[in-house]
Symmetry: D2
Subunit: 354 residues, 4 copies
Amino acid sequence: MRTARYLCMKSIKEHCEMKSRLNVGVVGLGRLGRVYAADLAHRVPNANLVAVADKQEGLAETFAKEYGIPTWYRSHLDLVHDREIDAVAVITSTSTHQEVVIEAAKNGKAIFCEKPISTSLEGALEMLRIVEKARVFFQMGFQRRFDSGYVAAKKKIEDGVIGTPVLLTSTSRDPFPPPLEFCDPKVSGGLIADMGIHDFDVGRMFMGDVRSVYAVGGTLAYPEMKKVGDIDNAVVNIVFENDTLGAVHLSRNAIFGYDIRAEIWGTKGSLQIGYFRETPILVMTQAGITHDVVPHFMERFEKAYRVQIQNFVDNVLNGREPSITGADGVAAMRVSLAATKSYHENRPVLLKEI
Amino acid sequence: MRTARYLCMKSIKEHCEMKSRLNVGVVGLGRLGRVYAADLAHRVPNANLVAVADKQEGLAETFAKEYGIPTWYRSHLDLVHDREIDAVAVITSTSTHQEVVIEAAKNGKAIFCEKPISTSLEGALEMLRIVEKARVFFQMGFQRRFDSGYVAAKKKIEDGVIGTPVLLTSTSRDPFPPPLEFCDPKVSGGLIADMGIHDFDVGRMFMGDVRSVYAVGGTLAYPEMKKVGDIDNAVVNIVFENDTLGAVHLSRNAIFGYDIRAEIWGTKGSLQIGYFRETPILVMTQAGITHDVVPHFMERFEKAYRVQIQNFVDNVLNGREPSITGADGVAAMRVSLAATKSYHENRPVLLKEI
Amino acid sequence: MRTARYLCMKSIKEHCEMKSRLNVGVVGLGRLGRVYAADLAHRVPNANLVAVADKQEGLAETFAKEYGIPTWYRSHLDLVHDREIDAVAVITSTSTHQEVVIEAAKNGKAIFCEKPISTSLEGALEMLRIVEKARVFFQMGFQRRFDSGYVAAKKKIEDGVIGTPVLLTSTSRDPFPPPLEFCDPKVSGGLIADMGIHDFDVGRMFMGDVRSVYAVGGTLAYPEMKKVGDIDNAVVNIVFENDTLGAVHLSRNAIFGYDIRAEIWGTKGSLQIGYFRETPILVMTQAGITHDVVPHFMERFEKAYRVQIQNFVDNVLNGREPSITGADGVAAMRVSLAATKSYHENRPVLLKEI
Amino acid sequence: MRTARYLCMKSIKEHCEMKSRLNVGVVGLGRLGRVYAADLAHRVPNANLVAVADKQEGLAETFAKEYGIPTWYRSHLDLVHDREIDAVAVITSTSTHQEVVIEAAKNGKAIFCEKPISTSLEGALEMLRIVEKARVFFQMGFQRRFDSGYVAAKKKIEDGVIGTPVLLTSTSRDPFPPPLEFCDPKVSGGLIADMGIHDFDVGRMFMGDVRSVYAVGGTLAYPEMKKVGDIDNAVVNIVFENDTLGAVHLSRNAIFGYDIRAEIWGTKGSLQIGYFRETPILVMTQAGITHDVVPHFMERFEKAYRVQIQNFVDNVLNGREPSITGADGVAAMRVSLAATKSYHENRPVLLKEI
């Protein structure tokens, strides 16, 4: 599979050079969409958030008025046809990524697409074919790659601080499960795909492509999830193409807060990424010494989301390659699918089976 | 001494109500001034940064163009006469606070004044008299009061978690000294006043007014500072009016990074505020386990500065009392002066002597 | 399989009651044998270390003279025939456990047997049959069960602090590999058996019996280990009989020190066991903040070894059940064998296959 | 004042060489005396604990029988006259140190004397004159000097890791106050002397002799202590002879546990000594992340006490100088007296006044 490369259309590039700010539209104003939109409105100096769209009645209008955004749409199609717009951030539910991205590509927009790339591998590949044909810029969203801990770890490894990496662990634990209706694997892809895709991308970031996976899991903390057919805990073993090893831990019951970690073990040293504390205060009483915990992903990755969308804007304005390609999005998805298959079939699954 | 209270002039108040955004001008674009200005430009949604002023040739213009600010001045007087402006943030060198604040007050502006309030007690009191007479809003800047650690500690104490506070320690340690020319006590007030004023304000925040202080210090790490007559380390004992105790530690040689801490010891428990880590990564090699450190105040208090200026804007727009009054600024200054006097005379000094 | 129960022979029991101290002999004075022997000599008040034996010329004599132990033997058979001795601690190389334990049992000694129980499952079962027939006390050594962290975790779980445990991780990482000759899987059983048996026992301690395992591994850090056919890193997935999950991480390249951890995730909270710091000192320089690490197992588990052998002596003297039975030793071994088989056959292996 | 030097009497030295073990007697079987006695009985291989003495009816006998010690006395005089005994550990209440030490010296015993050296400066000096005249070995007990953290810090400083030390902080905080009857300053010397003497010794260990002190304090947490005239919190500023600075924090209300810390700030880096955790386990629930705390001095310094008494035995047996001299004991006492005087007179006090 080839990488969908960015080939900035001449007209847009010149446009960018002339005005030095990128006109961006955001499609999808769910929880995460609002974060990106607020960042683009207030915190990304070289972006103009010129329009927002959301299919929920009144949502785009309310948001636009609150943030002083001149234009709002209920339909994403209207937004991607807006000629004022250079770039589109696609933060809709995964099932609509394909439709929105394809339409944006056809209209020559630079595209930022939140993970996961699509609900089906075929959909993703079709989408990327059209993106490539349209020669538009396309960047995936995986915000951990922009978190200072992951960035520093990458740099340390490149500097040789830990020698050759031989084993990675990546952990994602949510403080509570999503609403039951979102747990239905037909909607979410299931725990392993829905949650693990971040960890599989982290694995690829540090260790390279995946050769095989084996997953075990269970519905152990929230019996009601059995009704919709999802599990709440899983452990996934990985063997990478270069023979190194990985282990991904996924859970919905990190009752105390949001637990995101990674460790990279090398021949000369190791790196640990992660932290728990939200507030720099210790409470010391007869009950012991206690500190609080970052409650959820927004508090943990607030800055990473901002840095990521800034990176997208900078890449487009400066004619650079995307930091995370469509191929990266597809590759992480294939690991998700393989791990899910492994869980269902209780056997190691080779990536080439997917 | 009475508190300079905010009595929002009718004209401004109506103005605010109509437009729901506060037009702010920033005077002084030094390192900290640029932080406040950038926050007001991009991160405080209900503020418009409409003008900046700095006496250094070209600085205000360059900054204004970079941030898209419509107006710039070289003279602060021109800025405070600008009728578009509702509020002025005074971030100039301390020696000019008096002149700028008085002129702003006379022009009916709401005023935010960075610590320390003034270089002399008389100057501060004169300034506050005029502010009070002009019935304008006046709020001091002490950003630690807006840091999540200090805020959480205040809340825990109010909730009774540690019983009655009996002892406070507050620590400020810089990773390196300021340039020699800024160390001259005639300019800076000396280490105890320049650096300790934050800790004295923290002391007042948690324990109340100060009765007496005793300070020891020395030029121990940087002998060259003796030339300008400053010290680089000091320890200040405090007895508060309610008989509780305090200890302030000041140093210019926290070689490893920026070290800001506070502890409050109560009859039922204790609180520790502070953290060192900049990046959530541990490096584990044969040299041991290592993590990095927040390098300096901007990284440590970036968010507190933003929350503080947001608080100022919200207070003005909503007709609220200032969160930190001019009287607070004067009180912290008097502790600084008493501690400096104690150091020079090598005896405990009562606050009422100042 | 039935548990080998302790049925204290009348003669020994009366003997104990009369003298209130247990006469112990230690067989095997390797690194760990010397630790147990020194503890029994100086730190277990109700034990008399009356004899030591080691097949290496002169070793037992030298040790005995240094510690003031009255009797020494080169042959373990001579020691187990010594009528002064009530109890024998078997710390020889695993391949001789069977012979020594059986001879000790036949001579009516109470027996402490260091893990792993044997080099073969058949050998272990045969040994336990004879132990049971001889009706002697038999206790396995798994020192983590006596470490304050694991003990506290067990207590917290019993107190309901974390609700129902659903997932366990257990980690063993050595700072360097053993000498190549000890890595030969024909001698050591291979990384998974040799190192992982502690983690498998920890798994059983917290989660119960194991249903199936899947292991991946590789020779990634020390290519020379390929010559002897061993691996240096492995990850083992576990599904317990009660459907809960486990993950065991094994490595020989924790270059920075000795890394032993466990986490237990429950429906109401989680527990983490582990620490790194050897000395309570932080070094803070421009290189960051650094602390040292417990270098290896002796420093980490010094106290646990002492508590464990004390527990053995107390159990024998007081006619109590063994804290860790032979059946526990066999069960951990079966998990090791299953995980090793899984690694070789690259498929999940059910415990009942072993 | 001259140092009381060890001049091993010929007869004892030869005795030691012949038998290679030191016969020790312990006078005083209070809480700490029992710790030293148990260490000497079981954990110091080159010591024989041959006798114990305590004036409380039956205490010495009970202890001796439990630990298998052949001889016990009610009167310390009988013990120091016992010709079997080479060395005496004096762990009695401070008010009897003088009498016991003098009698031991006259009988040619090597002496270990727990801090503080005496209840009066005159008493201490008189005692040391007799010790010196008797030419017996005399070593003070200050166990922090043998704690791995303080030892490592001393080594780091000698290795130049932090450049030149310029400021020391030393903290002692107890989890609860002693019984009221022990708080009477006429008995205990008061908080500053009773508790602070450890910190003053730590100050001398790292920074050298003290020039002046200033102390503030109060009865803030336990009003009932006012009845006996003691305070429960104090902060002591120190200026050392070499112009460097110190700060000592003393408190009886570290409600959460035992809080012993020191920090040494140098021109090239800093060191922090201290830890809180008793058990290597974190409890993570919705209340946050919690760990326990070392409850009191015995748990914190268990090993340091053992290392210290081992050091005493080794020094005597090998004819070495005492690790902590009588002069060290006197010097720490003089700082205590100066700081107490400073508190009462509310002024800085020079050591030469004492």
